[in-house]
């Protein structure tokens, strides 16, 4: 489950953001806010995921670390987009 979330966060979320960012000027204000929220959220999540993936360099010894490292990119992208939509 967490591995599927990792794959979605790693590949699908950037694809969706790229699609959303295509011809951004023609999008609605809510979609533009979702795009920028998603970009910021996913970028921060990517940095967190990279840090957790590489340090400490030992096999997953904690379920929490594995869950956060693998799921944070999906959560960051989706959460950022949601915050962007809801923010006025």
């Amino acid at each position: 489950m967490t591995r599927a979330a990792f794959l979605i966060g790693l590949l699908v979320v950037p694809t969706l953001l790229l699609w959303l960012g295509h011809r951004l000027r023609d999008r609605s204000p809510a979609q533009r806010r979702a795009f920028w929220g998603g970009v910021i959220g996913h970028t921060i999540a990517l940095i967190v995921a990279l840090a957790l993936l590489h340090y400490p360099p030992v096999l997953w010894t904690s379920d929490l670390r594995e869950a956060v490292a693998l799921g944070v990119m999906l959560a960051g992208g989706a959460g950022g987009a949601a915050v962007g939509v809801l923010r006025r």
């Binding site: 591995r3 990792f6 794959l7 966060g9 790693l10 590949l11 950037p14 694809t15 953001l17 790229l18 990517l46 995921a49 990279l50 993936l53 590489h54 400490p56 360099p57 030992v58 096999l59 997953w60 010894t61 990119m73």
Partner: protein, 189 residues
């Protein structure tokens, strides 16, 4: 009349007074631009993981990610202890790792040592003298984790395809990047 609505979308600059591009050339230009853009964004995370783990692996010794024991042989290699005896000595030195079992043994006749690596989560490695079985070092092989992360194996056997995706993406990015850089300049000649 050329308003904002009528403006042509172009993937590369065109010099004024230049002949329009042939349809095939325009198609290649569009594919190069969009391929570079889409592939670059989609594989950013994969390429970053490959890059960071690769840099750490290149510098694993200075960073202390793997034990590096300097040792001179204490006897003739022909008089080395049997492998089973060396495993017993290593297991006694690393009692927490021993139940996971031995992953591999790395014998270095020139240094007179054997490295016994266990299959535990932190990949414990015990370095022994091959002749007298004395324990020279007990530590973690953190580079094993990084190697598996670099190859994608850390997530499962089939996940090496993710690493392959990153590598193929890098090759395509380099080719399309070169094309995007050189093609407009070749048109200016």
């Amino acid at each position: 009349m050329e308003g904002p609505q009528m403006r042509e979308r172009r993937s590369f600059p065109r010099a004024p007074g230049r002949e329009p591009l042939k349809p095939r050339t325009r198609t290649i230009a569009r594919w190069m631009f969009h391929g570079h853009l889409w592939l670059g964004i989609i594989t950013t995370g994969t390429v970053l993981i490959l890059g960071i783990s690769g840099i750490l692996l290149n510098h694993k010794r200075p960073l202390g990610l793997m034990p590096d024991v300097a040792h001179e042989p204490s006897g003739d290699f022909a008089a080395a202890l049997p492998l089973a005896t060396l495993v017993d000595a290593a297991s006694a030195a690393a009692p927490r790792a021993a139940p996971a079992g031995v992953d591999r043994m790395d014998v270095r006749p020139r240094d007179g040592i054997v490295k016994v690596r266990f299959r535990d989560d932190v990949v414990t490695e015990v370095t022994l003298d091959v002749n007298d079985g004395s324990v020279l070092h007990v530590g973690e092989r953190n580079d094993v984790f990084l190697e598996k992360l670099h190859s994608g194996e850390i997530f499962g056997d089939n996940w090496i395809l993710l690493s392959d995706l990153g590598a193929v993406a890098l090759i395509i990015l380099v080719v399309s990047g070169y094309w995007l850089w050189l093609f407009p300049r070749s048109r200016q000649q």
